[in-house]
């Protein structure tokens, strides 16, 4: 998902997006292909910050296979991430036979890891058994967002509890697959410092149930309650300094793709140093080496520190 992207007409025969990138694979850097299939979209669709459901449309099984095959033509990557604007494991989005067909084709193409995403309620024993047997090393990404049930329930509106995530994790592991936990920096209604603490705490609490953590830096998606809060000055996307702070204090492996870094709607610092920070964060995702942040300096650091200090007393006002 790119931030502030122009809307193109929805086409049931074309994926929402396809791109290639580098990814950490068992300590190596490997080529990765990401496909976001156009499906009916997330059926929960009530999270405060998420506008992905708007990308959905009614598509047939045939459409999905067509999308998949056009995106995987000439596939040479070792890692394939196959996502939807919802849950790949929701059979209302991706019928099970389509799902298993895709996974078998990826396996046949020699892909070593397939990353999918799902809400925990679709992570069922039978589903995972069928998924794990159809494909190669499966990794299931689950949007835990935070280990704090209050924030997840009342601020994000995620609709499941930490124990639901733990149970899903157990099922994924039982099938021999891997778990990736997505964490959100920063949910609305939290101060900058409060969000950093929440993310670090969540990373520590989620790590025992996840093989890898993925830190999502919140950006403002269109049509969301978060966007309205942002327009009212009630939300500022996280500082990249904060992202670095979390990455330095969270257990590894923790990856982070600073989507939209430097944009007004994305995570940003002062505007001068955003590109350098985004670069360092991307390097950290591949190398897991905290020293990539050494020497990362900018004159906006005292400002960020002041923001953290003062937002503890501002009663809901982001200091922008």
């Amino acid at each position: 998902m790119t931030v502030g992207k122009a809307r193109t007409p929805k086409d049931p025969r074309r994926p929402v997006a396809v791109w290639r990138s580098k990814e950490l694979l068992d300590g190596d850097v490997a080529g990765a292909l990401t496909i976001i299939l156009r499906t009916r979209g997330c059926r929960w669709r009530r999270c405060t910050m998420c506008g992905f459901a708007a990308e959905g449309m009614i598509v047939s099984a045939d459409d999905l296979i067509y999308q998949f095959r056009s995106a995987t033509k000439g596939l040479s990557e070792r890692v394939v991430k196959i996502y939807t604007s919802g849950s790949f494991l929701d059979e209302k989005e991706v019928p099970s036979f389509v799902r298993d067909l895709m996974l078998r084709e990826l396996s046949a193409a020699g892909v070593e890891r397939v990353v999918i995403e799902s809400r925990p309620e679709y992570v069922l024993g039978a589903t995972m058994d069928s998924v794990a047997s159809a494909g190669p090393g499966i990794e299931v990404g689950i949007g835990l967002e935070t280990s704090n049930d209050i924030i997840r329930e009342h601020v994000i509106g995620k609709g499941f509890a930490f124990v639901d995530f733990q149970e899903a994790s157990r099922i994924v592991h039982a099938s021999g697959s891997r778990v990736k936990a997505y964490l959100l920096l920063k949910p609305p209604l939290l101060s900058e410092g409060g969000a950093i603490l929440d993310a670090i705490n969540s990373a520590r609490e989620a790590r025992p149930f996840a093989d890898v953590l993925s830190l999502n830096l919140c950006n403002i998606q269109r049509g969301t309650p978060l966007e309205r809060m942002w327009e009212r000055g009630e939300y500022r996307p996280p500082w990249l300094w904060s992202a670095v702070e979390v990455l330095l204090n969270a257990p590894t492996p923790i990856i982070c793709d600073p989507v939209g870094a430097g944009a007004r709607r994305g995570p940003h610092n002062c505007g001068e140093c955003d590109a350098l920070f985004a670069q360092a964060i991307r390097r950290h995702a591949l190398e897991q080496d905290p020293s990539v942040f050494d020497g990362l300096e900018c004159s906006c650091r005292p400002l960020w520190e002041k923001v953290i200090e003062l937002e503890e007393h501002s009663f809901g006002t982001p200091l922008v």
Binding site: H154, V155, G194, P225, R232, S314, L319
Partner: protein
Amino acid sequence: MTRYFEVLRRDGPGRLGRLRALGEISTPTILGKGEYLQNKSAFDGAEGDDAEGIRVLPYVPSSKILQPSMKISIPGVEAGPSAFVTSPYQRPAVSADIYILEGAGTIQRGRDLVRAILAIREMIAPDSALYAPALATPANLALLVYLGVDLVDSIKMEIDGYYGRYHSRDGIHTIAEMAELPCRCPSCQILQEGGEEEAGPLIARHNRMKLAEEIARVREMIREEMLREYIERQVRVSPEYTAALRILDQEHRYLERRTPTLRRSILYANTAESLSRVEVTRFAERVIERFRPTASDVLLLLPCSARKPYSRSRSHRHFAEALGPRRRHMHELILTSPLALVPRELEEVYPAASYDVPVTGHWDREERAWLLGCLDRYLDKNRYSRIVAHLDGELAKIVEEHGIDAVFTGGGKDADGLARLSNAAEEATRDARRTPNPRLESFRGRADFFFGAGAGDLLLCEAARVKGHEVQSQDGKAIVAETANGTLALSIEGARMLLPLGCYQVTIGDFLPRGSILAPGVLSADEMIRPGDEVIVRGERALGVGRAKMSGWEMAESRRGVAVELRRVEAI
């Protein structure tokens, strides 16, 4: 349960108060960051109970867009002042000494600011303090206080320093774009010299100092009872603030309920907003609705004078001389801006006796419409067989073109003009009634003006007579007296006579008060009472008279503070 905050003085919705926390804090004030307030939201999962000073009760952060539905229990506070985080969208769940406006710093538009503060103010006790965090700047501070905010902080000053935003009473400047710094504080000197020192903390220090200067200025304006005048010029620094004042002025009930009927200061009508001031509209409303002019067949319209009361001016002395004995046959009405109509009987009443307006001879559209609207209503209610208009210039033209059926003398203060006035008066008052006792009639009119229609007749029903500055009954007992500030003061006898009217009464419990009556002692009070009003205090054991220090609704809702300063009391 409000026990730690007390309002001491008022100037419109703005107040001076006292907060008992960590010693004693005079408000309005700038709270030090984290100095008084312990802040733990429900998301932090912590229970900070080691608070010294003001304790912020547990709360669930929320915004208009995102209101978590979670329920939390709020423990009672046994001792010490408490603060409750609240918003304009929901009624506070508990009573507290201080209410904190959540997300105050995000309010951008003047309209939203007025709405938010008024909405909260209407939901909380009058003797509770309102704190607007991360919002105050030197430019908006006076407006915040005028709206009814008691507590602010310097968070915005501090962070803006680090953003390179330089504050002054005129607004925000980007320091990088300033050639010269219009301030002589030590921080600015260092900044101007452009040394090695980090700019952020220096600008922050300058900003904080400007805010501190402004809060002192605002407090002083309240003491001088000049806050409204100050606001009218201060909001000019930004259209947004000016809009806020205009929108506030449309909230007439909010302002009217909080505006005193008497101020020590001179009312400056310098701006367009002055026309909509409560003092102005209230005066006009009472002239038309309550006041009963001395019975007369002939109305004389006169221009105002710079000197107040008008009678002391050279021009009005000359008018009086020119009128001579014919004066007793006419009722005099002075046309002026912004008060519109001032009957001669009321020229010593606030604000008629103490206002000032830029005089150019030109009447703008709003002033005209206001004047003529009031005049039409007045003439609708009070009928005269003849009108003499001794007006000149634009004012004469306005009245004449409006179709007022009058003899227009052409006005003037010179010998010719005065002669025309004299002749016109002579002509108009031929076979007109003569007022038998103008001073007594003047008391009757003023009693109606202050206490409501009918008050004059109740007070003067017997064969009352004027002696010096007071009205006495036949047996020489004082009934009512005029005071130096233009108000009327009742005697116990006068109070007793006014009781049937049922107005301006404060009912107290079963005790004999002395000195002043505190709000907790008030059982009920007339809603109409405003600070400065003469009131009657009645209880099972006492009848008294005094001056209201707060509005009637405030007396009923407050737990602290002086409600009435008693002047006389009698056991019954």
